[in-house]
Every structure is written in C-alpha cells, then in structure tokens.
C-alpha cells in the first residue's frame, strides 16, 4: 500500500542533506502559494520542473502521484469559470465563461501542480525515517517527531491487521453493500483495529520501558557532508528571493 519507491534513487537531490531539502521545500512552497502574477507563476512552474528533473524521477511515477490533484483541477475547471461573476469571455449555449473565473482556475492549477512537484522532488525523495530525523535537527518538538516516527512505524502493522480482519470476514461470506449490516461490519472492523492498536501500544510501551526508554528522543543519524549543500541552499534561496521581488515589483 505504502511505497517509498521515489526515496530509492541516487540523484543530486537524493544526495543532499535532508535538512536543506526540508527548508528549501518549505520556502519555495510558501513563496509560490503567495504569488499571484501569471509571469511569476510560470517561472515557478519551470523551477518546479527543473527540481523534478534534478531528482531524476520518471514522468510516470510523478504523474501517478499528481493524479489526485489533477482530478481536483479538472473539477474546478468544470465549475468555477461558469459560476464566477465578471466580464464574459465565451458563451456556450446558456452558460457563460467569465474571464476572472478562467484566470482563477489557471492560477490555482499552476500553483497546486507546482507546489506538489516541489514536494515530490524534495520531500518524497526521502524516507519518513530520514524526514523525521531532519525535522528533529530542525528543532521541531521532540514529541511531535516521536509521534510522526511511531505512527509511520506502525501503519504497516495495523494495515496488515486490517487485511487479516477483512479476509476473515470474507471467509464468513461478507459481501459489502449499501446496507446497515455492511456498515455495522465495517464499524466493528474499524473498532477492532482501534482496540488492537491500543492493546499493542501497551505491549510496545512496556517493551520500550524494559529497554530503558525515559522519554528522551535519540537519533543516530549523522548529517551527510556534501559540498553541494551550501550551493543548492544558496541557489534555491536566491532564485526564490528574485521571484518574490519580481512578484512585488510587478504591480
């Protein structure tokens, strides 16, 4: 169900320090989300494409991951141009496409696709374990990092429990439909997941206490030293700064 296939590569981006990647992804995403001018947004789109290329990810896996957002974009193109008020652009029978509506859709499309490409290029190219350690070094609260890593660790286990419960239900002839019986069955399945999760948590916690867990978060990773780190950081910051200034001066 969960694959971290993109994290396996060995590109320039993969070899960078995870902290550098997290900081860059954060900065670029927010700068992008706050831009409005089409010229600047176009440049961001190119920027995002360059980052994806630098991570040497194939078009196939990237498109697959963009599928949810592409569906969303399709949905807004069907609704917004026709419901937005403003200067009409095109009449299709009883419907009128308005210029501000189309502009809004175009802006949202470029922004959402570019932000997700930046996310895929910089963050999806590392495992959550690495990401957690990077967040820890960036002073994200210990408890939050701990929650993130523990949740990540147990998702696969709980997923397996769910498959087991579902298989057992199917063996007993469960065929899902739109009826109360099906909803009740799913409710009991989900309930059992929570019950088992809670019981498992007690065992895990006891085992951790036996091994001397005292609440401190330890991380064994040592940051990769790579001469590209400062270069990449400076390059991305400078480019983002130029784009932000252009955006501000455009008006």
């Amino acid at each position: 169900m969960i694959s971290e296939a993109l994290a396996q590569g060995d590109s320039m981006i993969h070899r960078l320090d995870p902290c550098v990647r997290v900081v860059c992804a954060f900065g670029v995403s927010f700068a992008l989300a706050l831009s409005e001018q089409f010229g600047v947004l176009g440049l961001y789109l190119v920027f995002a494409l360059v980052l994806v290329a630098l991570a040497s990810l194939g078009a196939g896996p990237v498109l697959k991951r963009l599928k949810p957002v592409l569906l969303f974009v399709l949905m807004i193109w069907v609704i917004l141009p026709f419901t937005h008020e403003g200067e009409p652009l095109l009449r299709l029978g009883p419907l009128t496409m308005t210029r501000p509506g189309v502009e809004l859709c175009l802006r949202i499309t470029i922004k959402s696709v570019s932000i997700l490409m930046v996310f895929i290029a910089l963050l999806a190219t590392m495992t959550v374990a690495t990401l957690g350690q990077a967040l820890h070094r960036l002073r994200v609260p210990d408890k939050l990092v701990f929650l993130l890593l523990m949740t990540y660790r147990y998702i696969a286990v709980i997923q397996e429990e769910y498959q087991r419960l579902l298989r057992a239900a199917r063996f007993r002839g469960f065929v899902p439909g739109t009826n109360l019986h099906s909803y009740r069955t799913y409710a009991y399945l989900a309930g059992m997941l929570f019950v088992r999760a809670s019981l498992r948590a007690q065992r895990v916690h006891n085992a951790m206490l036996c091994r001397g867990f005292n609440g401190t978060f330890r991380s064994l990773d040592s940051p990769l030293s790579n001469r590209l780190n400062p270069v990449f950081m400076t390059g991305v910051s400078a480019l983002t700064l130029v784009l932000v200034v252009t955006e501000l001066l455009w008006k």
């Binding site: 408890k143 993130l148 009991y188 019950v195």
Partner: protein
C-alpha cells in the same frame, strides 16, 4: 475531505497554520511520555481506517472517523490527526505543505469539539451511547464541512457555490459516519471499555 494546494489566500493559509500550531501545542502538552506510544499507534489506526472504502449505492466513500479519534483522544487528537495528514501528504500527495495547517484545523478542530460535547454521555446506557456517538460522528464531519466551506468563502466570495456543494455532497457521508461511529463506540463498550475516556472528575488524560 481536504483543500488542495494553491487554492487558499495568504491570510487564510496563515491563520490556519497559526491555529494548527496552537492546537498541536495544546495537544502535545496533554500527552505525557506514558501515553505517547498509545497516541501514535491510534494515529496509525486512524490512518489505516481512513483508507477503508464503504459502498454507497453504485459508488463508494472512504471512512473519516475523526469523530472516533476525538472521542478516544480528546485534545491529543489534534497532533495525532496532524501527523496522519502529513503522512497522507507524503505517501499519496493528498495535499502538500502550505495547506496542511488549514486541513489540520478542518479535521482536528471538530474532533476536539465533539469530544467536549459528547464524551460525557459515553458511560450511560446503550441507547444513549449510540445516540451520542452517532452525533459525534455525523457532527464532526458536518463541522469539518463548515470549516472547509468557511475557509473557501474567506478566500474568494465566488467559492460560495463550491462550499454549498461540499456540504450537500457530504450529507450521505455524515449519515454513514454517524452510523459507523455509533456502532464502533458501542463495540468499544462491549469488548474493551478501558479504551474510552474515563468520566470527568477523575484525571482525564
């Protein structure tokens, strides 16, 4: 149910992020290190349960169950939901970084509200428990839709139709969530009541 990247205006995005940080901070403060493993593994269960699809006529919808998480964890549901949403973003690209704050508020705030509204009824008779948890399940989806619609409306007045569409399209989801949450909590009552929050008055983690 979430808002995609690139939709929200700057002020709405920032307000969402600020609220999410505040809620997460309160939640983290309420979790001590004896409970943190419990919260983390329930958060994994929430992640997996939200991938369960149930039939709805010819189509299907996925469960949300933020009501159940709220009833089980109280304020701790906030960081648990934030973490699960972040992992969804990493694994499936359901959203990215900039909308995470608003999406966290959409999911987690109703969960906490439902905890305060309905958890006092969880140690009553069977029918009361079912009714309270039905309302918690349906109510948290309803509140989520309201917050989502409100965030869209604040961004752009012309999103009003979209917001209305979101609420109406989610009416069947509210009913399903209510039924599933109702059965789920009565199930806890039968097989493992310790998982439910203890009555108020005694210390409530």
């Amino acid at each position: 149910m979430h808002i995609s990247e690139g939709v929200l205006s700057g002020p709405v995005m920032m307000a969402g992020a600020a609220l999410a940080v505040a809620g997460t901070a309160v939640g983290l403060k309420k979790i001590d290190y004896d409970r943190i493993v419990h919260v983390a593994i329930l958060s994994s269960a929430f992640f997996v349960a939200s991938l369960i699809h149930v039939n709805l006529g010819p189509s299907s919808v996925h469960l949300i169950l933020n009501g159940v998480v709220g009833l089980l964890l109280g304020w701790a549901a906030f960081p648990a939901i934030v973490v699960a949403l972040f992992l969804q973003a990493v694994f499936f690209q359901y959203g990215g970084i900039t909308a995470l704050g608003v999406n966290a508020v959409i999911m987690a705030l109703p969960a906490v509200i439902c905890y305060y509204l309905f958890s006092p009824f969880l140690n009553k008779g069977k029918k009361t428990v079912f009714a309270a948890s039905f309302l918690a399940g349906a109510g948290s989806v309803f509140f989520s839709c309201l917050v989502l619609g409100f965030a869209l409306y604040l961004t752009e007045k012309s999103f009003f139709e979209v917001s209305l569409l979101v609420v109406t399209a989610n009416l069947p989801v509210m009913i399903i969530e209510g039924i599933v949450t109702g059965f789920c909590v009565t199930f806890f009552h039968k097989v493992y009541p310790e998982i439910l929050p203890r009555p108020r008055g005694r210390s409530n983690p």
